[in-house]
């Protein structure tokens, strides 16, 4: 069975990659970033079990992530110092079970409805829990949150999980398990019927399936994996606060998943990695990071609703036929105006940010590539608008080159298939 060998090769390759990453990116900050990526991959994939697989738009997915995180913090604090015989690597299961429990409770309430009503209930439940998180101080710790110490559980093979690299491997292992498990679920009867419910809920009813039951089970499983992500977050940060159950966290996972692409299993993985990377890299560089995030999301919705994964998979048939290289010149060509326009947008945002936010305290002068520009004067603005306009005009001129290349390659592909 060559194909099954190929399938295993993919997983083994992924495992090797996860194992090797800390040796390639050795710095402390990369380790922190990669740990966070692992957590977000699980979280985004669990979200996509709802949005991408079953067609349920949730605005309150952080509830299961956050509540599990809080539960795990309390659990570790209780079990500390050998009070309970547990090892840290198994603690994420507690989070999973918490997510599952709340998934069952809230899922029972919300999956009776589909579509917009489901989205609204998920929003309502999310706000409900977020509001409670500020009232129930005993469990949520108010604005400060609740801290814990992950090293105080029993040691496993001498590891106490104090160093970040040990936590990274713990997260990586769970990440691998969860990716595999969630991928496996898409290939089971429930997974396939989830797709059917997404595609046509009415028809699914007439082949013997209760759409409500399909949604409910997907919801519970999704809560379970979100709970594991939340537990890993609690272990990683050693603190949980009200933000982790908030609408902001729910919104972040939605944006992340959608940007990555909901139509393909690996889309949310791309989204989680990319957004986490951008978040940590850009938030050091610019104060307007969230604005870029929101604009990227809107851009994807308007021009590439399949997300990054959808865009990649668009090229899959061409790549198989070895026709991808034909597109390369056109893509390189169009990259020029795109980058120019992007520079214009970045200029507008950054100069604006500098002038409006930092201007009052740090002065309005900003240095770009060694040149001092006064954001109170007209030049930075003229340059930015000029770049944006030039990029757009040039892009419009060059766009036919891309469509021609695309059509040419597609026609060639069709010719080869029919031949």
């Amino acid at each position: 069975m060559r194909s099954s060998l190929g399938r295993y090769a993919l997983w083994i390759g992924l495992a090797i990659l996860f194992a090797a990453l800390p040796h390639i990116f050795t710095s402390g900050t990369s380790l922190t970033k990669m740990s966070l990526m692992g957590i977000m991959i699980i979280f985004a994939l669990s979200y996509n079990m709802l949005l991408g697989q079953t067609g349920m738009l949730s605005f309150g997915h952080a509830v299961y992530y956050g509540l599990a995180g809080f539960m795990v913090v309390h659990f570790i604090n209780r079990a500390s110092g050998g009070a309970w015989p547990v090892w840290l690597p198994f603690v994420p299961l507690i989070g999973g079970l918490t997510g599952l429990t709340f998934g069952i409770i809230f899922g029972w309430v919300s999956t009776t409805r589909a579509g917009t009503a489901f989205a609204m209930i998920s929003l309502g439940l999310g706000e409900l829990v977020a509001a409670c998180s500020l009232i129930l101080r005993g469990f949520f710790g108010g604005e400060e949150g609740i801290t814990t110490n992950r090293t105080r559980l029993l040691r496993l093979f001498g590891y106490n999980f104090g160093p970040q690299v040990q936590v990274y491997y713990l997260i990586a292992a769970w990440c691998l398990i969860c990716i595999a498990a969630m991928y496996a679920i898409t290939r089971t009867p429930l997974g396939r019927m989830s797709n059917a419910v997404r595609e046509n809920p009415e028809r699914a009813q007439f082949v013997g399936y209760s759409t409500q039951m399909v949604r409910f089970l997907s919801f519970c499983l999704s809560g379970f994996f979100a709970g594991i992500a939340g537990a890993l977050a609690a272990i990683n940060f050693e603190i949980m606060n009200f933000l982790s159950v908030s609408a902001v966290q729910s919104g972040t996972v939605l944006l992340m998943t959608y940007i990555g692409g909901v139509g393909h299993f690996f889309g949310p993985i791309l989204g989680a990695v990319l957004i986490t990377w951008l978040q940590s890299s850009l938030s050091d560089l610019t104060g307007a990071w969230m604005l870029y995030f929101g604009l990227l999301f809107i851009f994807v919705i308007m021009f590439s609703p399949g997300g990054i994964a959808g865009w990649i998979m668009l090229h899959e048939p061409l790549a198989r036929a070895g026709l991808l290289m034909r597109l390369l010149p056109a893509y390189l060509l169009i990259a020029v105006p795109v980058l120019i326009a992007l520079a214009g947008i970045v200029g507008l945002i950054e100069f604006g940010h500098h002038y409006l936010v930092k201007g009052a305290t740090d002065g309005t002068v900003v240095r770009v590539l060694g040149v001092a520009l006064d954001t109170a004067g007209p030049w930075p603005w003229l340059i930015s608008v000029g770049l944006l306009a030039a990029g757009l005009i040039l892009g419009r001129r060059l766009w036919p080159v891309v469509t021609d290349a695309w059509n040419g390659a597609s026609a060639e592909l069709k010719r080869r298939i029919s031949a």
Binding site: G55, F59, R113, A131, C132, F139, A288, G294, L356
Partner: protein, 311 residues
């Protein structure tokens, strides 16, 4: 006690009318376009900030007129160049588009006006006491807000029942999908409805800004409540939105005024089981109540109080 009831009722009705200024636009947009506009509260926020900016430079009254128009124009542009492109990808994409828009607007507002509340003041011409009851004063500006809200309500009612456009809108409310068949220029009607809805939200923002707090989180705070209103009232039902607005307004206002907790009523016995929940006063629980109501309504009366459609 009577004092509390009277003032809470007044404030509750005021808050409810304010909610209705937003909920009516949201309902119209949803009924006609099928889009639950997540960014609706963001237009309300834009109204407040535009009003603030204009009142700071020229005066309150020019802002009162111009800011809603500006917001309406922004809304129409968003519909024309954003939403219309997304329309072909379906309702989920449209909903997500407005979600992303709300996100971006909040960030932009933070960039332009900072994260802290701005000093949007009640105009001097309205800065006096309307009346005094039981030694408690009631500001004239609040009466003005009430007046504007009621005025808008009457205006909307008149448009819906007395004009041709109103008839088209009513037809769309009861029979979605029929407007196109009647041969009207649907994209233009959509743009208009979206623009007018945004302008109404902007107007609410202009008058609410000085009374409440004008800050970047005001959209995120009000937005979810707004959804509660339209869902509780029944998606697509204007009378339902009206009733639900007043209901939520009154519940919220009264809840904040009540300093009782379960432990005050039943003794402290339950605290062992329910913990902080037992000790929390109704006032503290006030933010939770609308969402509880939303969930209960959706479970037990999926069409909302006065809606006819299941969503």
């Amino acid at each position: 006690m009577l004092e509390l009831v009277i003032f809470s009722s007044l404030n509750g009705v005021l808050y409810g009318m304010l909610l209705f200024m937003l909920a009516s636009g949201l309902t119209l947009i949803f009924s006609m376009m099928g889009v639950l506009n997540f960014a609706h509260a963001s237009f309300y926020m834009l109204g407040a900030y535009f009003g603030f900016e204009i009142s700071r430079r020229i005066g309150f009254w020019p802002g009162f007129v111009v800011a809603p128009l500006l917001v309406g124009a922004v809304g129409a542009l968003v519909e024309r160049y954003g939403l219309r492109q997304v329309h072909r990808h379906g309702h989920v994409a449209e909903l997500l588009f407005t979600f992303g828009l709300a996100f971006v607007i909040e960030e932009l507002v933070q960039m332009f006006w900072g994260k802290l509340p701005v000093d949007y003041r009640v105009p001097a011409s309205l800065d006096f006491t309307a009346f005094t009851l039981f030694q408690t004063t009631y500001p004239a500006y609040r009466m003005f807000m009430l007046l504007v809200a009621v005025g808008m309500f009457v205006f909307l009612l008149a448009i819906l029942t007395r004009t041709r456009v109103g008839l088209i809108i009513q037809a769309a409310l009861t029979h979605p999908n029929t407007v196109a068949m009647l041969g009207h220029d649907v994209p233009r009607i959509f743009m208009m409805v979206f623009g007018v809805g945004s302008a109404l939200a902007g107007l609410a923002g202009v008058i609410a800004g000085p009374a409440l707090v004008t800050q970047p989180s005001m959209a995120a705070l009000l937005g979810p409540i707004l959804f509660v209103v339209v869902v509780v009232g029944g998606l697509g039902s204007l009378p339902g939105a009206f009733v639900a607005s007043l209901l939520i307004g009154l519940i919220q206002t009264f809840a904040v005024a009540i300093n009782l907790s379960l432990s005050d009523i039943f003794g402290s016995g339950g605290a062992a089981i329910f913990g902080d929940l037992w000790q929390a006063t109704v006032a503290q629980l006030a933010p939770v109540i609308p969402y509880l109501l939303l969930v209960l309504i959706l479970i037990f009366r999926p069409t909302g109080l006065m809606g006819t459609r299941e969503t």
